[in-house]
């Protein structure tokens, strides 16, 4: 099974988290992302939305897919730019977005603590890849 792999190079060591890819709801979007991974960019925090990290991506133009309100753990494409967005904690969504992957509920506690750092300490290198993992 393929999953989205995020590796964040924090000062005290790498943090790695995997996210389930929603092939059933965003197949074209995931196919486009598969063409640009792996890539890296400094991760930063959103400034209006409560608990959201952001990552600029290589350029690709796609149509909206699975355009919906995010929940904690969801990862989406914001088409303007474009950039990835990831929600790590409670949120009052400010709009719909193209959700293509989700961090598993059992990983959310650590994910919340790690990604919450990006407000106080933005700029850690995040590497995005799609890799084969055992189910």
């Amino acid at each position: 099974m393929k999953k989205l792999k995020l590796t964040v190079a924090f000062e005290d060591g790498d943090y790695v988290v995997f996210a389930k890819l929603h092939y059933d709801r965003a197949p074209n979007l995931i196919a486009a992302i598969e063409k640009v991974v792996p890539f890296s960019n400094p991760v930063r925090h959103a400034r209006i939305c409560e608990s959201e990290w952001m990552l600029s991506t290589p350029y690709f133009a796609v149509e909206d897919e699975n355009f919906s309100y995010p929940d904690p753990g969801d990862i989406s494409l914001h088409r303007a730019g474009p950039h990835f967005c990831g929600w790590y904690e409670r949120i009052s969504p400010i709009g719909t977005t193209d959700i293509f992957a989700s961090v598993a509920p059992e990983d959310l506690e650590e994910y919340r603590k790690k990604m919450g750092r990006t407000w106080e300490h933005p700029g850690a290198k995040m590497t995005v890849d799609i890799v084969e993992v055992e189910a």
């Binding site: 960019n41 400094p42 930063r44 350029y59 303007a80 919450g116 407000w119 290198k125």
Partner: protein, 172 residues
């Protein structure tokens, strides 16, 4: 591919992990009373709006609901707020030189100028869309590095003190 689109895409890709030289220059541009904060805020806002504008225009130019000349005119006029087209460098209005004079983003101003002239010369929707997408990518990457330069957290804490707002919540 149009040479200026190629140049913009390559610069954008390079800036995924490489801090643009323009950011160093921008940090030396002092605004009112010798401070840099307002320069950064204005540059960040201008580029953020421009990324959205390029995104909307590259979508619009692919559709027939807007006529070609209108999309080209609006794109060039919008880009003129950052830098005038390379074939119209006599424009000296304040609104036309923000990238270089206001923010000291000189490389960005040069690329935007040449891209804007290329859009004016383009004959087809595909040609225009390619340059707009390249601009969207390039401006997004430069915008990202301004974002990373700005001490949002520290200033948010100080802002709350000044305004008498609640103390910002700590990290989870």
């Amino acid at each position: 591919m149009n040479p200026i689109a190629q140049e913009l895409f390559e610069a954008g890709d390079r800036y995924l992990m490489e801090r643009p030289d323009d950011i160093v220059a921008m940090r030396t541009r002092m605004g009112t009373r010798g401070q840099n904060m307002t320069v950064q805020i204005y540059a960040f806002s201008a580029l953020s709006s421009s990324v959205d504008a390029m995104y909307l225009l590259q979508e619009a130019v692919a559709k027939d609901e807007y006529d070609f000349d209108t999309v080209v005119k609006f794109a060039v006029d919008w880009l003129s707020t950052l830098a005038p087209p390379a074939d119209d460098s006599q424009t000296h209005a304040i609104i036309g030189h923000r990238a270089s004079i206001h923010y000291r983003l000189d490389n960005l101003a040069d690329l935007v100028s040449r891209a804007s002239a290329a859009i004016k010369r383009a004959k087809t929707r595909d040609e225009v869309r390619e340059v707009l997408q390249a601009l969207e990518h390039y401006l997004n990457q430069v915008r990202t590095w301004i974002d990373l330069e700005f001490p949002w957290h520290e200033l948010a804490v100080r802002y709350a003190e000044i305004m008498g707002d609640p103390v910002p919540r700590p990290a989870p």
